[in-house]
């Protein structure tokens, strides 16, 4: 099932281990012309990035998600330019590597009147050529890699993607990557979701694709840009594809917000609060607790939500409260009525689907699908032999168990929920004897 997490598109970097130097995370990308068919049937011209080690995708997507491992501090991307004009790679929030005369220096062009204007913020990759871009001292955070060439023109074509680098690639508590990671020191998460906002004006994109943009052409600048399609992670909202959040690892979900569009969006999440901890790849000294978040053009934000147990088996909706929450749908060809529905619910909306038995599993290490918790202390019966409630299973609890065994009066002692308190339950207690109850995801 396709998810917004795009795990299938996260590239594994190839390491270049250099003795005495920090590790380098290396990727290779291709910039190419592409198209995307929108839900209303329109075919929109786009430019995008794809992984050079694979084939060009049939349809435009946001650039592959780049992950700079925690042990690396240098990012290196080799870009092959299959467009018909120069382009480049640029990452706001990270200074490019500067080698005088070779790399990282802006490129100017002189327009007809003799006035020099910047054309690229960094060195260019000519059409058909391949160049390498590097950034040293990559600090933890979420970043938007994008074209650094005539950004007003090229970004709207689709030349953007997400990159991230965490302080720790494993959950510091368990030491396992399966259990999540740590974005900034002290900020652990169990699952991450990237939400990359952007919008498309098909008319300007068509002009750019047809090389009919700029001085003397049909579209001379982007000042009159009027977007028609509003996307998250390069897609219009698809009600058949909600995003699953909440895993067995734990309730903390990192939302990485990125805005590759040209205007501000204000996502609002229902039923939950976010802990906003990062801004453009800079850790915020004072997290902000909000259910809404301002995401201006070019901005990245990191926010952690903790899924509470009361939301198990529910859907939680996040949508842009600025109202860009309609999909363009096909005009009904079967009617000539002037009254025709052009839009449907969707646009910049995400439906998070919280499963019943992951976010709230009250015996995280055992299979207890019924989640029975007679004493309602957050620890499921199957892992809760702590009858006294002192968060330790010991002889005091054994005494209570014997009493329940004899009198059959304490359903909390029916650990395996088979209706009786018997030797089967004694076996459960033996397993957990000397340990605290749990672990439970319903208690945190």
């Amino acid at each position: 099932m396709k998810t917004l997490k795009l795990t299938t598109l996260i590239l594994l970097s190839t390491f270049v281990a250099s003795a005495g130097f920090a590790q380098v995370a290396s990727y290779s990308l291709v910039a190419h012309q592409s198209t995307k068919t929108m839900q209303d049937g329109a075919v929109v011209n786009m430019w995008g990035y794809y992984d050079a080690t694979g084939a060009a995708p049939a349809s435009w997507t946001t650039g592959p998600e780049l992950h700079v491992p925690a042990t690396a501090s240098t990012l290196e991307v080799t870009l092959t330019n299959n467009l018909s004009e120069p382009t480049s790679l640029f990452i706001p929030g990270l200074a490019p590597e500067v080698i005088a005369g070779v790399a990282g220096e802006p490129v100017y062009s002189t327009s007809g009147s003799g006035i020099g204007r910047v054309h690229s913020f960094t060195h260019e990759t000519a059409p058909g050529a391949t160049e390498t871009y590097r950034w040293h001292n990559v600090t933890p955070g979420t970043y938007l890699y994008q074209s650094g060439t005539n950004p007003s023109k090229q970004l709207q074509m689709g030349l953007y993607g997400a990159m991230y680098h965490d302080a720790n690639d494993v959950n510091p508590g368990t030491g396992s990557a399966v259990d999540g990671a740590e974005i900034y020191p002290g900020h652990t998460y169990h699952q991450q979701v990237a939400l990359l906002f952007s919008e498309v004006d098909p008319v300007i994109n068509a002009a750019i694709s047809a090389d009919d943009y700029g001085f003397g052409n049909t579209v001379t600048s982007s000042i009159g840009r009027t977007p028609k399609y509003y996307l998250i992670n390069g897609e219009e909202y698809d009600p058949l594809n909600p995003t699953a959040i909440g895993t067995e690892a734990g309730p903390l979900v990192l939302l990485r917000f990125l805005n590759a569009g040209y205007q501000t969006y204000v996502p609002v999440i229902q039923d939950l609060y976010m802990n906003i901890i990062g801004d453009d790849g800079n850790e915020l000294p004072h997290p902000r607790v909000q259910y809404s978040i301002e995401v201006p053009a070019g901005k990245t934000h990191d926010a952690i939500v903790a899924i509470p147990c009361e939301l198990a088996d529910r859907n939680v909706v996040l949508h842009d409260r600025r109202g860009h929450i309609r999909n363009q749908i096909a005009d009904d060809p079967g009617t000539t009525s002037v009254v025709e529905t052009e839009e449907a619910d969707g646009g910049m909306t995400v439906t998070f689907q919280i499963p019943i038995d992951t976010a709230c599993d009250n015996c995280a290490d055992l299979s207890n699908p019924t989640q029975t918790d007679v004493d309602a202390d957050g620890f499921g019966n199957l892992c809760d032999a702590d009858l006294s409630g002192d968060l330790m299973t010991n002889f005091g609890d054994l005494g209570l168990f014997i009493d329940a065994f004899v009198n059959q009066s304490n359903p909390a002692a029916d650990f395996n929920s088979d209706g009786v308190v018997n030797f089967g339950d004694l076996g459960v207690m033996a397993t957990g004897f000397g340990s605290p109850p749990g672990p439970s995801l319903a208690v945190y």
């Binding site: 229902q270 039923d271 004072h286 600025r322 109202g323 646009g347």
Partner: protein
């Protein structure tokens, strides 16, 4: 010159309604409804507070004389619809139940969402975001007001269009003993010490593209393309300027009950509850003084859970108010260190024989400025244009002589400050200036009664 003529006409309108403005004073307590309380009626044994709202079309008026078709919420089956929806007032810990009945017309479903709360919905049919009521039907939403604060509600059905049509409102949850009572105006907003206030006011910011409303009114809602939305009206509490200055509950604005003319005394704390309810951000500027933000989205801005005060809220003079977001801020005008005596105290050796021969200090007067004269002279009347709220005197609590027909809107000689969107394009009603997203805050002098609180 056309614009000036329009400004004068606006001031004439002010003057005509002067009596109404001041006989019913602006409310220093946020307006709202309190529903029906059933003690112990909540699922957890807490109190249950129930509200009933009817979603219904109606009309509002704009400052330049237009009417706009809206969708709003009514408090009763036969009472006028309100825009914005009524402010729901509750106490922390209560179970809140809102029953929504849909009277918007054939084919229009609607619903309500309550960001900041975990909501259970019953009745109606499951919709895109929550349970929805079909026309004529109803749906009930239940949640617990776990934290005090300022919150918003809005339609969860076709949200983009329905919020444009006006389906939004606010919720204010007070901490224990936080709500003003006993005829007073002071209270507390959160469980942090610096959320106490002497006066509190609500500012709900929104916009209207009346072309969309015309289409909906004429049955063409399906043809509305929200991409082409272009607002022509900007509102505070559902009114455009200068209607924002008319009193709360004004009978000639039956569908827009909430004004926003605000008043305070020197060195008194004003709690601003500011809510973004439309689709656009607005830079809300408070003339006169900076404010200090103490909470966002119903949560105090604190560095840790045990902070006794809101210690990480920022100070600013212009607040970015984004759609869906709520802000609580404290504004206090102190009149300090201005280099001149704002009360106009002058030496009077006869009445006050002891040096420095000055009257005693006012209650909140800065001693360093006592008796200092105004350092400049104001030009003669014929060289000046006067504002309707100019008292004729630069001094607080005093009037001066004004040419006939000038001023008149400032009966107590207070100092007035415009609080407004600093996107000045939003200070118009369609093509007419002034209007739009503006209101006033008045700092009154000693002895003035503001809703039962007398300025010292």
């Amino acid at each position: 010159m056309t614009s000036r003529i329009k400004a004068n006409r606006a001031i004439e309108i002010f003057a005509l309604l002067l009596a109404l403005v001041w006989t019913s004073a602006a409310t220093a307590v946020v307006p709202g409804i309190e529903g029906t309380v059933t003690v112990g009626g909540g699922a957890g044994g807490n109190d249950l507070r129930a509200f009933q709202l009817w979603a219904r079309p109606g009309y509002i008026v704009t400052g330049e004389g237009n009417t706009v078709y809206m969708w709003g919420y009514a408090q009763g089956i036969a009472t006028p619809m309100n825009h914005p929806g009524p402010n729901l007032i509750a106490q922390v810990g209560e179970e809140i139940r809102v029953t929504l009945t849909n009277q918007l017309g054939a084919g229009v479903d609607t619903s309500m969402v309550f960001p900041g709360h975990v909501v259970d919905a019953s009745g109606g049919t499951p919709g895109f975001m929550t349970n929805e009521a079909a026309n004529g039907g109803n749906v009930t939403y239940t949640f617990t007001a776990t934290h005090p604060g300022t919150y918003t509600y809005y339609s969860g059905t076709d949200t983009s269009l329905q919020t444009e049509m006006g389906l939004f409102g606010t919720i204010v949850v007070y901490p224990a003993a936080g709500q003003p009572s006993g005829g007073g105006t002071s209270g507390q907003a959160y469980d942090v010490d610096n959320s106490t206030f002497d006066f509190e006011y609500l500012y709900v910011l929104s916009e209207i593209d009346d072309a969309i409303h015309n289409m909906v009114e004429n049955g063409l809602a399906a043809e509305v393309n929200m991409n082409e939305r272009k607002p022509r009206y900007w509102l505070i509490n559902g009114r455009t300027g200068p209607d924002t200055l008319f009193p709360t509950g004004a009978p000639y604005l039956p569908n827009q009950p909430n004004g926003s003319l605000s008043r305070t005394c020197v060195n008194h704390d004003v709690l601003m509850r500011v809510v973004g309810a439309g689709h656009d951000p607005h830079p809300f500027h408070t003339h006169g003084q900076n404010f200090r933000v103490i909470a966002r989205d119903g949560r105090p801005r604190v560095s840790s859970a045990v902070s006794p005060v809101s210690d990480v809220g920022i100070s600013d003079f212009t607040l970015t108010v984004n759609p869906g977001q709520t802000y609580d801020a404290i504004w206090t005008w102190k009149g300090e260190n201005l280099g001149w005596d704002i009360y106009g105290h002058e030496p009077d050796p006869v009445t006050y024989p002891l040096p420095p021969h000055l009257p005693p200090l006012e209650a909140n007067e800065d001693p360093a400025d006592h008796g200092k004269p105004l350092p400049v002279l104001l030009p003669e009347d014929q060289f000046l244009t006067f504002g309707g709220f100019w008292s004729g005197s630069p001094f607080l609590g005093q009037d001066g002589t004004l040419p006939v027909g000038e001023g008149g809107l400032n009966p107590h000689g207070g100092m007035y400050y415009m609080w407004h969107s600093h996107t000045e394009f939003e200070l118009i009603n369609f093509d007419i200036f002034p209007g739009g997203m503006l209101t006033m805050m008045a700092v009154e002098g000693p002895g003035v009664d503001i809703d039962g609180t007398v300025c010292p």
